[in-house]
């Protein structure tokens, strides 16, 4: 594909950009909690990321939504502060906390000014260790969560993803949205929330990333101050689950001029020997930017969508390769056929030498540009640890990509991409699309 572009590119071939020099310190707090730190004293604040592995998949089956609601309540009052008092303290220190839940982890992001870091740390400790879960706060946030659930139920993108997951994972926690259902959230009790808090926030499962104006010694003390009083032991995680949804099309009727299509099948583990080949393959298939095959064929050449992409989902318990696009109801059938054709072509023929080179250049060139701020760097450090990567991964990552050969990609494409297994959930009123075709 696009040979004209490849030819044009050869005229302006450049050497690869310099690698970022990121100096990561491995810190162990006096209390035994490990953290990664990138020190940079040029701006007087520190960005902190605490990721607690486990996440909303730890919900008890009868209390779906408890972890999500619990995380929403952490900023609604702690220790001797009610919700308003806590919020006023946060504002007064010009610190910022964000508490989020995801399937495999709950995450806490914070930024603290150097000038009042100790006070900010005590405030964060109170939120994590001594949340109040006041009845009025529970009712208020429960109402907000219910409104979010109702919003998702009327949003075609959410309906598509939720339908796909339900068909793929059934009773496994991955099979239902982490927000829970109207029924499950309505039934949640304060005890459910306390149990979710006890399960999700533990020292055994936390990873810490820090970047900014702080020394290793100061960071160690700060971490113990914030996390030291959390319980150590974590409950077991759910078993892995295989995505074995049969190929086909599921249509969900939704009155809209446009259909949303969510599609995919089983993927590849991060520790698979062919992971990096699959990573390069996905870049060519539907990775970011305007040049992937899916963007080129569905948007640029045919004007069937505003945007389309695919990605390797590295969910801890069930890796997958997934994608999404929106097309007008009268165009979506053609777009699906184009996606299937690309899937099939790659599975049979792999990618071209030009595509391999372009993908490598983009992936290796873009990587060092990511490390461009304390907040971003802290997040990358936490994410790497939650994936059990070694500290020298940043240095070596581009060489793993460089080592991928055309044959590697061909092999992994034949193994990974299966047009017969590709399942599309289409939400809208698509024309000429019938379930199962």
């Amino acid at each position: 594909m696009i040979p004209r572009l490849a030819a044009a590119l050869c005229a302006i071939w450049f050497a690869l950009p310099a690698l970022a020099t990121i100096d990561i310190e491995e810190v162990t707090s006096p209390g035994g909690i490990e953290a990664w730190l990138v020190e940079d004293h040029s701006i007087p604040f520190v960005a902190l990321e605490f990721w607690f592995v486990g996440g909303s998949a730890l919900d008890a089956p009868e209390a779906r939504g408890a972890t999500y609601l619990m995380m929403g309540l952490l900023e609604e009052g702690a220790a001797d502060m009610d919700a308003q008092a806590f919020a006023a303290e946060v504002e007064g220190l010009a610190t910022a906390f964000s508490f989020d839940a995801a399937g495999d982890a709950v995450t806490v992001s914070a930024r603290m000014l150097t000038q009042n870091r100790t006070e900010a740390a005590d405030l964060l400790r109170a939120a994590l260790v001594e949340p109040r879960f006041d009845e009025d706060a529970i009712e208020r946030v429960r109402g907000q969560v219910l409104s979010i659930i109702e919003g998702n139920a009327r949003n075609p993108s959410d309906i598509a993803r939720t339908t796909f997951n339900a068909m793929a994972y059934g009773d496994h926690p991955y099979g239902t949205p982490q927000e829970g259902s109207v029924d499950s959230v309505t039934a949640l009790t304060r005890d459910d929330i306390l149990a979710a808090h006890r399960a999700a926030l533990t020292r055994d499962r936390v990873v810490v990333g820090a970047a900014g104006d702080i020394t290793a010694e100061e960071l160690g003390a700060l971490i113990d101050r914030i996390l030291g009083d959390l319980p150590a032991e974590a409950p077991p995680r759910p078993d892995p689950v295989t995505l074995d949804l049969p190929g086909g099309i599921t249509v969900v009727d939704f009155p809209s001029p446009q259909s949303v299509a969510f599609f995919g099948h089983a993927g590849i583990d991060r520790d698979d020997p062919d992971f990096f080949a699959a990573f390069v393959l996905n870049q060519v298939l539907g990775g970011g930017g305007f040049r992937s095959r899916l963007m080129e064929e569905v948007r640029v050449a045919r004007g069937l969508t505003y945007g389309i992409g695919s990605f390797l989902s590295l969910a801890d318990l069930s890796p997958a390769i997934l994608g999404q696009f929106s097309s007008s109801n009268e165009l979506v059938a053609e777009a699906i056929e184009v996606v299937r054709a690309e899937w099939s072509d790659l599975a049979q023929n792999g990618i071209t030498e030009e595509e391999l080179e372009a993908a490598k250049r983009y992936m290796t060139g873009e990587y060092p540009l990511r490390f461009d701020g304390n907040g971003t760097i802290a997040g990358i450090l936490a994410s790497m640890q939650s994936d059990d990567m070694p500290v020298d991964y940043i240095t070596n990552r581009n060489s793993y990509i460089e080592a991928v050969t055309l044959e590697d990609v061909r092999r992994v494409a034949a193994r990974l991409l299966d047009p017969e297994a590709l399942h599309f959930v289409v939400v809208g009123q698509p024309q000429n699309v019938s379930p199962g075709n």
Binding site: L9, P17, E91, D136, S326, S328, M363, P368
Partner: protein
Amino acid sequence: MLHRLALALGLILTPLAVHAAGDIADFTLENGMQVVVIEDHRAPAVTHMVWYRVGAADEPPGQSGIAHFLEHLMFKATDTMASGEFSAVVEANGGSDNAFTSWDYTAYFQRVATDRLGLMMQMEADRMRNLRFDPAEVATERSVILEERAQRVDSSAGALFNEQARAALFLNHPYGIPIIGWRHEMETLDVDHLQAFYDSWYHPNNAILIVAGDVTPDEVRALAEEHYGPIPASDALPPRLRPLEPPHIADRRLVYEDARVANPYVSIQMLAPVREPGDQAEAAALVYLAEILGGGQTSLLSRRLQNEEQRSLYAAAFYDSTSVDPSGFTLVNIPVPGVSLEEAEADLWRIVEGFLADGIDPEQFERIRFRIEAGEIYEEDDTAGLARSYGVDLSTGLGIADIEGWTDTLAAVTPEDVMEAARRLFSDPSTVTGYLVRPQDNAQADSAEVGQ
């Protein structure tokens, strides 16, 4: 939780814009192209942006969406580059690129390793004047923007409601026309429209170059003179004189009904002044007013309606301080189930009137002032964001002196300034009040209309 709800509604929280003071240089090329350099040597990367002082509010009548359509076509062929080659070269050099269009500006940017800056300038300078419109590609790309409209607007009850409410707010000014365009006009946009718009506005003396990252002003000056310097200035730049608003003397109300509405809500919009060159005090006071009324968890709307009375799922105020012409001040209230939209509307006014009567809590005022000051520290960590902020300010008519003075202007605001600005804003507000409802809520809304 609140933020997530706001995102779900498509409400964009306007951050407090305060600029870091140090390591920023500016100069102008001989052809009139303005240049700003923001130094940040922490990573070997730069953000390269070119902003044009033209946007959707500058479109000829009947051609809504042409500014944004042209932005898409800027990634197609020039005299010397193939269609799509621009992004291909950026990606092959490990960079990323994109563009965006607003009512007042159109901007193009790339993020690349520092040693690729010259290449980016070479290509960006090329497409400033050498674009070639191919009718077949224009036709395909027109269907892409129609899909974009379908995805972003037609598929979202909230977006359709916002579009209608905005069209109602502006009686005469093109701020009432959607950036993406009205579908029936988008369908008619062709090569001639694109060529004329491009030839009118895309010139170095209507452009601002912003480079942020691991560079020095001298390096940027040398590269900019090499690549952008040779492009001649236009002597026929159209003035940016948009039709202005007449006095708003009548309240207007609208009800938009859509089966996809999950959480019915009410919004109240009114015109508000914005930052003017050399005169930013009123806008600075309004920034505080929006924060105090509805900027966060401890704001009046949130504290009273969400926390104390538990009558709202979400209540907030929004103010956009930076645009060429006066823009909107907005109050929003999503009531809890069981509270009607008429009651939610009355709740908003009750809080505003209470505020006008009771004044400002001094502790809250000091917290906000400190947060604005601290914002300056956090903003230094995000140079790409800083670059964007400079672009918005400069392309909406502010000068470097205004930008550098904005922090001091904000710091000088007193509670009395805020009260006076609030009294002016709310003294005789002709408002646009909108209800976003589900079909089953309709009977309720209709009966309320009769009662108004």
